[in-house]
Symmetry: C2
Subunit: 605 residues, 2 copies
């Protein structure tokens, strides 16, 4: 279902109920760029820690815009033995909702725009009919302003529409010497209104100010007025229409106005309402543990790694020969169905659908290792658990994933040296320097530093010894390097929010600073890392998903309805799951590799 600003409100209930009933949902996004700094291959290093990689990618991706967001919900129908899918394709654009709302600036990368254009992407639809959104800070600010106006109103401080939006001065004070004048004008109004139903008052600047005073200090009951400007007149000429109303009519109008304001506020929050619905839904959080799955990581892990066709699936290029795949799903009534034969890759809704299909196929493949084999593996199966909350890390030699809810893997890097040298040095200089140590691998950090991996760990000490008296370069062990880095980083990374000028700005937040900068963070701290993105800043949830895998990443939000009862006691809950808790799903989990035989496992659900 295509959702734009035009049908957003009408579609919201369908979106909410699709999320509520789903077993899992798949998402995808199309963005205005990939890296606003160096290109990704220059930016990343094969020996980045997950923290470093995360920080680097985040730093250079936060100012891009999400043009399109795809959601595909999957609900298993036992009778049909099929997933019923509901795909949504949202067009998104931060149209300023009024003159004082943030005028967001975003970056576009020519190559990304060119790529989307070549795929037939409809930019006109985005810019003309994109659904607006607010991040949580903006939303809170707007709600506060509305609330303030309401309270003022409830306290009888006149209708609030004449407070200048840009004014932060508070209610005006009417000087004593003007009160007599004001009273005379009011009397004059009353006389006029005893003759005419309404009249229009030409307003010189001073009188305009007088009416503002009135609106703030309390205008006598029985009047209402609205500003009236004529286009053709000069800016300083303003008119006010004054008319007579009784109390009931006044109340009715005020009620109408409040309702309109509430609706405008909801319109401004826009697409963030969908993100809220996902964040708050039972699919994502159980015992405040978030459940996401990255198909790219799943496909590049045993037993899928060896199966080329699944690799292809992870890259979302459906093999036309796999005609059985679409038969695993059926499009819900009222939703336009996708034709996998005619690929619509890079339409976010379609990509989300294909991603979900990849997951279903891979999950079912796991069932073939069970005794007896199972054709259908549910999204709640224990077989899937090891893949939860782990994001694929591209081009990192020895760490397959970033763990978003637990400590990251600590690879042995005893054979790695951190070398600093003059700017003029090239790779060949490093090869020459380490020529005595056989094969080495160089990972550049910047102009004056690089990691050098030796082939044998016991050579590290020799290299360190020989470098002791060197003047032009300096060698540290990897452990020394990490320690120095941690000390330097204790000042901490800071998250960003939109500033007044429409750009993201850094600020400090106690929630998030705990999660950054330390390679060995506790599970709680790591969890904060996600919480920040999912909850503090609605839209960055999406950015976060994006940066980890460059178009190929998607996540599954898992439904765990049955487990909800246990939320009373976490400890009880763990035991009630039946099996002993899996502390680190990855290391304790084994699939038959290409050489070994099948291991027996039972499906935990």
């Amino acid at each position: 279902m295509e959702v734009t600003r035009r049908n957003f409100k009408d579609s919201l209930n369908a979106v909410y109920s699709a999320i509520e009933e789903a077993d899992f949902l798949a998402i995808d996004g199309e963005f205005s760029g990939i890296s606003d700094g160096p290109n990704v291959s220059a930016l990343t290093n094969g020996l980045d820690t997950p923290e470093e990689r995360y920080t680097k990618l985040k730093k250079h991706s936060m100012d891009f815009l999400l043009f399109q967001f795809g959601i595909c919900t999957f609900t298993y129908d036992q009778t049909k033995s099929k997933y019923i899918i509901k795909p949504f394709n949202f067009y998104i654009f931060p149209k300023p909702f009024n003159r004082t709302s943030p005028d967001i600036k975003f970056i576009c990368q020519s190559s990304s725009i060119d790529f989307l254009a070549s795929q037939g992407f409809d930019f006109n639809k985005v810019f003309c009919n994109g659904i607006p959104y607010l991040n949580q800070e903006e939303e809170a600010q707007l709600r506060e302003q509305t609330e303030e106006r309401r309270n003022q109103h409830a306290n009888g401080v006149g209708t609030p529409s004449y407070i200048s939006p840009s004014s932060s001065k508070g209610p005006a004070h009417v000087p004593e010497e003007h009160k007599d004048f004001i009273n005379r004008v009011i009397l004059c109004f009353a006389n006029l209104l005893s003759i005419f139903y309404f009249f229009i008052m030409f307003c010189v600047v001073g009188l305009w100010r007088f009416t503002i005073c009135l609106s703030l200090t309390g205008f006598p009951r029985g009047f209402t007025w609205k500003p009236s400007r004529q286009k053709r007149l000069e800016r300083k000429e303003r008119f006010i229409q004054v008319s007579k109303v009784d109390d009931e009519e006044r109340k009715r109008r005020e009620q109408q106005k409040l309702e309109k304001e509430q609706e405008e506020l909801n319109d401004a929050v826009g697409f963030s309402r969908v993100v809220h619905a996902i964040s708050k839904s039972h699919i994502v959080f159980y015992l405040s543990t978030c459940r996401l799955l990255d198909t790219k990581l799943m496909a590049s892990t045993q037993p899928f790694k060896v199966r080329n066709d699944h690799q292809h699936l992870a890259g979302r290029s459906l093999n036309p020969a796999d005609t059985f795949l679409p038969s695993l799903t059926e499009t819900a009534e009222g939703f336009p169905s996708y034709d996998t034969a005619q690929e619509q890759l890079h339409e976010a809704g379609y990509d989300a659908y294909i991603t979900g299909l990849c997951f279903v196929s891979m999950a079912n493949y796991l069932g073939s290792f069970l005794t007896p084999p199972k054709a259908y593996i549910s999204a709640r199966s224990k077989l899937i658990e090891p893949f939860f909350n782990k994001l694929f890390l591209m081009r990192i030699i020895d760490i397959p994933y970033l763990n978003i809810t637990g400590p990251d893997l600590q690879p042995k890097r005893d054979h790695v040296l951190y070398v600093t040298f003059p700017k003029e040095w090239k790779t060949s200089d490093l090869y020459q320097l380490f020529s005595a140590f056989g094969n080495i691998q160089v990972s550049w950090i910047d102009d004056t530093s690089a990691f050098v991996s030796l082939s044998q760990t016991d050579q590290v000490q020799i290299a360190m010894n020989t470098s002791r008296y060197a003047e032009s370069y300096r060698i540290q062990t990897y452990a020394e390097y990490i320690q120095a880095k941690q000390e330097k980083e204790k000042s901490g990374q800071t998250p960003k929010t939109w500033g007044e000028d429409g750009w993201v700005k850094s600020h400090y937040s106690s929630t998030t600073s705990a999660g950054f900068g330390y390679p060995r963070c506790t599970s709680a701290a790591s969890h904060c890392r996600f919480q920040h993105h999912a909850q503090t800043d609605s839209v960055s949830l999406v950015c976060f998903l994006y940066i980890s895998g460059f178009f190929f990443i998607c996540f599954f939000f898992f439904c765990s309805r049955g487990l909800r009862k246990r939320s009373i006691s976490p400890a009880q809950g763990e035991q009630a799951a039946g099996d002993a808790p899996i502390t680190d799903g990855w290391s304790h989990y084994s699939y038959p590799d290409s050489a070994g035989g099948k291991k027996m496992k039972t499906d935990g659900v």
Copy 2:
């Protein structure tokens, strides 16, 4: 005429000849934003110097993209007593021309995009079919690379296609110990080619490197080869097709290749070819004096200032009652004609046309002051001269324009004080501080400083005296402030170019640093300011036009064919013009104001 990437090459000759034959041309642009920092009203100050204003606006506008460029040429037809117009509407987008070309990042401002969208702007056309461009630096670099490859080729260093684009290593050196191996492979090739017309060679990484060596050190005559990759294979598997050619065939192919390269280079330069054509044309430069005219400035000057309808014209909202206006022009054959009744505002081609129409109307209005009155005033008339090379300055109290070819006006600001104070101060604090001096005007600079204009100059010294012992605030005269600023700024502003990561980067340039930072710059230095924009950096010419007036600015490039002869001697030339040279057209030029009578003037042409 709409010009996109698809018909750009076919349209170029029409564009060139339109520029060549024109009496003047009008331009307009549509951009992706206005200010990437604070909004323009917050950024600018009523007491900015022209230099400050220029620097501020430039700083916050260089990263926007020009989506559309409109040119309308006007050529007077004596027999028809009409201008024959040729409007062009170019769609522009910096599509990367190959994998190594700069991947430009640009900023979009939501409000600007939303505005264009509401005007029916076709973003899909821009992104899919926009004409690419290169700035002069990129173009020079590309030309140099092509030239280098040609020279290598001419020196017989093999065909150059195998130099890795990302490699900066220069030609490979074939080690002595490999030469024997290479010779054996060549012999093997020769044997194979005596049997087959061509063969495809599977290429493991080492052999691939070997062929690169060959291509750089010289491959024996009689062979040709091209790389051949199969999509379905893994990245490291490459094939090379080797085939037999005779010398003639080889030369023919090489010639073809050079021609193709030249064409690709021209394609990459793209829209900049049009900008070059304008810059180099006789319309713009005479005796290296550039001739530009800003209709917004013209319309806000006597005698146009008092005529509301011309003000409207300057803002380009044609009065439907002015049916006589379109009759001043006729669209050239083969060009689609605009219907002014159905306004197509914010299509750059149409806006350029309307801008030109405004100019024609205003120029002719000047003719009504002549004795006898003249109905048609040519673009080469001396009546127009006072408006040359002056850009409208929005919201500056006492300086009407920025002079791009001479010293800027130096207004008296003897009554202005520069005040610094604590961050907490508000406007009311300043009013209170200066309450003894009657009416004052406050122009904020930043959180802790502002200009305060007193109503009487003789109060300045009193204010200075009373502030002598103040601790919380500090007062300087305007002259003291300017002097301190000049000393501080001696380090100078620096212009920008595109960096390797696709962002504009600062660098030093002797041409331009002379023109910035000093309010009283010489005519030569001021001229550099324009030269830089018009010639050093093609695309910023457009930005420069844009920033000075926010969508309302346009310029006319004047044709002065008759004066061309004088280019032999500037001094002679000035005398040959007949009249005494006007040193400062503005101050010596007078039009009847609304109160006074008509002054007699004769048309100098």
